[in-house]
Amino acid sequence: MTIRATDLRVKKTDTTSTDILRGISCAMEQGTITLVVGKTGAGKTTLLDALSGLIKPTSGWIEYADQPLWRGKRLNHCVALTIGCVFQFPEHFLFARTVRGEFAYSLRPLRLPRQEVEARAADAMVRVHLAHALLAASPLTLSGGQKRRVAIASTLATMPMWLFLDEPTAGLDAEGSNALLTYLREWRTRGGGAIVATHDLDALLPICDHVLILRDGTLLAQATPAELCRNPAPLLQADIGLPSALQAKAELMANGWSLPEGCLSAAALAAALAAQHSPRAMPAHTPRAERPERPSTASQHQRPRVADTLDPRTKWLLATFISVGILLTPTWGGILYGAAVIVLLIALLRLSIKELIRWLRPMMYFIVISVALSGLVLHIYGGRLTGIGFAVAPAVGTLKQWSRLLAVMALGLLLPLTTSHQQLKQGLQAALSHVPGTKRTAEAFALATALTLRFIPVLAQEVERFSKVARARGKSRVKPGRLRARDLPTVMVPLLIAMFQLADHMTIAMEARGYRKIGQRHTAAVRLKLTRRDAIAIFIGLVAALPLYILR
């Protein structure tokens, strides 16, 4: 059996239309190990995600034997069940309350009897050299390498036909990575296929059959390890670096030693060096290899948006004033006027409406449902349902209520979309600190707000992550970035735990950098200054919002 990919292309999901991958065609055989190598950002993880069906390529074709991976917009479920994935960051993979729970989750789609699940879990734990007792431990309390081992073990337990491993040896100790290599070798002879993205050429090059070399989203070269040993040029072109043996050989040859072809074992290299060793023949001085030029990443310099030049306090003030106006306005006219102001603002700030709608979509669904429900009239006669009707007046009333909130929410979103959370925090703190005797409270409040704002995009990432987990491990058929209602109960608790964990990480990170307690003395890098621009913006904003307060 073979995985065959033809002319794959993957575009970024956000507004920029750059390709992450383009023109990738390759084939992977069962019973072989394929390495995917490349610099950070070359597209290794994306290629793995595309080949394993976690994301749908923008164009191109993927086949497992003669079965297509995608049938139109739907993932081919039969194929998906033969795939096992381990993600790059094990902490993004794990979420259950115990290690045993991780196994249960991964094995659930296989519908195995209970003892079989327990047996497979125990067996996989042995394979990755973890103590059986750890099955009862919480994954959160494990060390980095232990988490990695659990992630690997819970995938091995599903006994897939194809294994996709992203950077599997990072953080593993020698024992752990040797155990993994042994497993991979053994598994290959049993006919399994593996696709491994890695930087660790020392460990994985000797055991693989085939190497795909990526550069900037394209397939620079394909080769066997033997070919790469003879001619490592593609590895250098892709700026990946060489395995130690080749690196040592290249550097020695650059210093005037002549060495035999191919990859040399330590003993062979030593023999060649000793044979040539005569102090006289030494090169006089060692030409030092020059440091390669680093390409500097220049940011596309555009004219700053108006929103970026305003003081955060101005933004807070305007957002508050307009929001209160919208909430207080009793008429449809007022609400529509408020909506118009917001649309105008979006246009002025050059924001993308699409982005805003993405955030508001759940709220909109909710509104449609509640409007429909509130208009529902059930005719009941003599204890029996005799008919269903729809009353317009209560529905419109509900719609009005919710429209106000929707408008206020949209306005609230403009703030974090145009201002960094650090700045928002600072603005809020500066504004509140004028109230005497509330300095500490102001800071706590501002910090909480800033962190909450920071968590909004993170929350979206977490949803994406659980969606990925649900697809890769739960074999759920949801679209990327979505969650099924059916997955919610199993996902909500871990999602919450994950958020706590995130908060915990954040606390450690902030503490490590010196943030010990609220109220400690600190300073601000950017001095806030209200400029004429702010004055003008406040004036225009107040005038624009005035009708909301007057039109009654």
Binding site: D173, L242, E251, G514
Partner: protein, 268 residues
């Protein structure tokens, strides 16, 4: 040897939800000299990260004492994103300074200087999430330098990076050591111990070995080295050197990285 800058006495950490009988750290005594490069190795779960966090005063001790220069120890994690707070390069570099109440007048200059020191050449308003993993790690390092950190603790800070970026971070750390910083380097890659003055090996929360780098790698009288006893594989350069020695070619020092191997054989 210089003054000790980090001192641990009987440092013990027992987690509330521990799953093994012993603690995560069991009575560690350690003194790290100012300007020293200490490598820390050990199996998964042996307590390396816990020790790193104790040194960075992020993990409280259950028993024992730790003395470090207050506010001058900074920690870098494996996942470069784990500790980023700001949204732009400038916000991120300044965060630590804000927290330590540095006079805002000094901030731009210090931010620029530390970015230059790590060789990160991007505009100050560059969004952090447009940086590569290696660049993020350098940015984190710049943030540490901006608050004039004296001790830098790297907890497997290179394990997620590609070899070129890893080499770069190692080189910068090496430069920083030359300029007087103390480096504590936790790793699973034995080659990365090439710059270490001393190596500390942890096992189940106890010090299994602490000593000079050469003593860690050198095989004495045909016996396996401490490195191998601890279950690690000797780096390629060390293996080559051992074979050379058996063939009668003695090197001036024991090379650990490929670069050192070239230096050693070329000067033999």
């Amino acid at each position: 040897m210089n003054e000790p800058i980090v001192v641990l006495k009987n440092a013990t950490v027992v987690f509330a939800q521990a799953h093994s009988a012993g603690g995560a750290l069991n009575g560690i005594d350690l003194a790290v000299a100012s300007g020293e490069w200490l490598g820390i190795v050990g199996k998964n779960g042996s307590g390396k990260s816990t020790l790193a966090q104790v040194i960075a005063s992020v993990c409280p001790l259950s028993k024992g004492v730790v003395s470090v220069p207050e506010g001058r120890v900074q920690l870098l994690f494996q996942n470069p994103e784990a500790q980023i707070v700001g949204e732009t390069v400038y916000e991120e570099v300044c965060f630590g300074m804000e927290v330590q109440a540095v006079d805002p007048v000094q901030m731009p200059e210090r931010a620029q200087a530390s970015l230059a020191q790590v060789g990160l050449d991007v505009p100050l308003d560059h969004p952090v999430n447009h940086l590569s993993g290696g660049q993020k790690q350098l940015l984190n390092l710049a943030g540490c330098l901006a608050v004039k950190a004296q001790v830098l603790v790297f907890d497997e800070a290179t394990s997620m990076l590609d070899p070129a970026s890893r080499e770069r971070v190692l080189e910068i750390a090496h430069d920083l050591r030359q300029s007087g910083h103390t480096i504590i380097w936790v790793t699973q890659y034995m080659e990365e111990l090439a710059h270490a003055d001393r190596v500390l090996a942890l096992d189940a929360g106890c010090v299994a070995f602490v000593g000079e780098r050469e003593a860690f790698f050198r095989q004495v009288d045909e016996r396996i080295s401490v490195c191998e006893q601890m279950g690690f594989t000797q780096p390629y350069a060390v293996q080559v050197a051992q074979h050379l020695q058996a063939l009668g070619m003695n090197l001036a020092f024991l090379p650990v990285s490929t670069k050192q191997l070239v230096e050693a054989v070329t000067g033999a």
